[in-house]
Amino acid sequence: MTADQQTAGPQRQSVGLNRRSLIKVGAGAAGGLGLFGPSALPLISRRSAAAQGDALTFWQFYAPGGRVQTQTTWFEDCVAGWNAQNERQVELVYVPNSDYMDGTKLPTAFASGQGPDLFIISPGDFLRYFNGGVLQDLTPFMEKEAIDDFFPDVLASRIVDGKVYGLPMEVEPMAMYYDKAAWDEAGLTDSDIPETWEQLLEVGKRLTNDQRFGVLFETNPGYYQNFTWYPFMWQGGAEIQVPESNKSGMRDPGAVAALKFWQDAVNQGVSPRTELGGGAWNGPANLGTGYCAIQNIGIWSISELRQDAPDLEYGIFKLPVPEGGTYTTDMGGWAFVANSQGKDPEAAAQFIVWALGSMSDDSIQRGVDWCTKAKSDMTPRKSVQDLAVEQGGFESGPLKLFAEEIFPGGRGEPRVTPEIYKSISDAIQAAMLNGVDPEQAAEQAATEIEAYLATYTGAPIL
């Protein structure tokens, strides 16, 4: 060993020690964060969230800058009305529809402790947020009369143990829309309006040609597809969960028949396997472009077709039923909810009740304006319904048909957990698009749901 090496030795050692120290510190920090990170990060995030301004943030997909001006204006007016009277301000935050439904923004925000103070959810997502413990009880802020004013079937999916955790802003029943020009072209008349599944497939065949499909059902897997399939299952008497038990009703003949109905529609070439415009919820992109002659879609499409396909002449009829079945339809719709972990959950709850759930004239009129002017929906409250009728909201046209024929007999959209949703979704997809025997697909879903229910401890599935 040379003198230089001898001298350099301790120096290298010194550098080595420093490096080791650095590695130790780094590993310690990383390890610490690794061990405590899961619980520490949301804490850090909450602190930063608390440091953000005082206004309550309200996430939704309507305003500001939404696609339909009347709906944007309604939201802006609603918030402006509250802000003019209250110190605790509300700020609208627009989230694109595609990022809101089945997207990452809302779950990510809650996972990092930065969920909005106010947001809107569909019944399909209710249990996920309720079981997560982030929904604020609105009951203490509501008058008994106002709670009773909501249609029980509509409010049911937002109630747990008698407490109200969300107020619906609308009711959106499903129906069948048809293109009148295609109808006439196929030589069909009003007497051909199908009342049974079999008749629908027959009419669908007559409407099908090399440029057009007869009937469109949703084909994309997701909450929306399940939502549109449920009424066909109910019509045959089946339920997702047999009441008061941990048994699934997916094995029941009604569920199997509903799976087979959609499978037949695809196998017979009456229904497509894909759709335009992102999904079968989009009326203008499908019915409006002539891609299909009949479309299974909700009441919201009235206002969308009015805006995006004003020249389309269309008719609407009730969902057909199986032989011997009972008519029903699925009634969706979004609800205002408050984040119980937010900046000021009480103020957020008060805002919701003020906006949609008080007996004041303003609150009732706001409901009428949303359902009959800004949008085209049924109302969730008796007083709103009465005032809407009084003001001629359901006097004529498609809304009258919905109010008088389609809405009566409808059922609220069920609330299920993501796990149950997935089992049903897989059954629909397997039968409809993969040729799996409907009985086998239903059995698989029932087995999965029952295994899940055996250990499930959250709020009841409805």
Binding site: T7, G37, G132, R212, P272, Q429
Partner: protein
């Protein structure tokens, strides 16, 4: 501080002091080099640590928890890993990913190399052709997905209209579980081929022209030249392409983005790649712990696959002698 011993000549002591100072200067120089090296590395190291290393450690640790997605964490040990073993959707997603990788990696290699050979010659407008082939790469994957979804729609889509002219119409490219993964692979190869073409083109241009001239004089045809000159001299490029396309196939953004936009994992889970299933578990079902565990397994699988690739190619040297 040095202390002089009695009786030591002054010049000897001065010499020793000089030697010590020189050594110190040399050490300072070494130190400075170390410092410079670390400073150069620091930005990258910090970036890697903060944006890659730390999230990986967090993700790995998250896999041992049940995470509700609302701030509730429960330590559950290996429960998430045990769940994977009996989750048919996870196992199905691994099978789908395996098919995707097995087709995509060789597909990109063959198409990328084929295109590079086609556009290698400096003919007029060759820059334009190269640009056109690379063009899909500069477009957002979401836009690519939306355009192809529109082109591939049942019955009236452009693709079906064209295929019907040769008697192959009437297929549901994105709605038939037997076809959808292949359709997705075709779109993915179309999207990525320009990038791999460029890599191969760079490799091809490194091969001296004289080798081909000599081979031609010796009577070698195009195939012989390709087999005995081009392919062997493209070994380093081939290794890079295989490695990068393997990583892209398993965890690349195109796998997730195109599935998200075009199929949502359907029909009937036929395009449910593992990356998409991880996303579903995390963001649709709020099972962040389970998703993190699956992500860890996927990263581990990728490490193993990369290791196998290194082993099979002798670290990219392809030296089997």
């Amino acid at each position: 501080m040095s202390v002089l011993s009695a009786g030591q000549p002054a010049d000897k002591q001065a010499g020793r002091r000089l030697a010590t100072v020189t050594r110190q200067r040399r050490l300072s120089q070494t130190k400075r080099e170390w410092l410079a090296a670390y400073l150069f590395l620091l930005p990258d190291l910090l970036g890697l640590l903060i944006f890659i290393g730390l999230p990986m450690v967090l993700s790995l640790s998250l896999g041992f928890f049940t995470v509700s997605g609302f701030g509730q964490y429960t330590f559950t040990g290996l429960a998430n890993y045990q769940k994977m073993l009996v989750d048919p959707l996870f196992i199905g997603s691994l099978q789908t990913t395996a098919k995707y990788v097995i087709v995509l990696v060789p597909g990109l290699y063959v198409v990328g190399l084929g295109l590079a050979l086609l556009v290698k010659r400096p003919i007029p407008l060759i820059g334009l052709f190269r640009g056109m082939l690379f063009l899909p790469n500069v477009i957002s994957l979401v836009v690519i997905g939306l355009i192809w979804k529109f082109l591939l729609v049942d019955r009236i889509g452009v693709v079906n209209t064209l295929f019907s002219k040769i008697g192959l119409g009437g297929r549901s490219w994105l709605g038939d579980p037997n076809l959808t993964l292949w359709t997705l692979l075709a779109v993915t190869i179309w999207f990525l081929m320009g990038f791999y073409m460029l890599i191969f083109l760079a490799g091809l241009q490194e091969i001296p022209r004289e080798y081909y001239d000599a081979a031609r004089i010796d009577g070698a045809g195009p195939w012989r030249s390709f087999r005995d000159i081009t392919l062997p001299l493209l070994k380093p490029t081939s290794f890079f392409v295989l490695l990068v396309s393997l990583v892209a196939a398993v965890t690349g953004p195109q796998g997730f983005d195109l599935v998200y936009v075009m199929t949502k994992g359907g029909p009937a889970n036929s395009t449910n790649l593992t990356t998409f299933y991880i996303y579903q578990q995390a963001f649709l079902f709020s099972n962040f712990g389970y998703a993190a565990a699956m992500a860890s397994v996927l990263v581990f699988a990728l490490l193993v696959l990369t290791g196998v690739l290194f082993a099979l190619t002798k670290g990219g040297r392809f030296d089997f002698d």
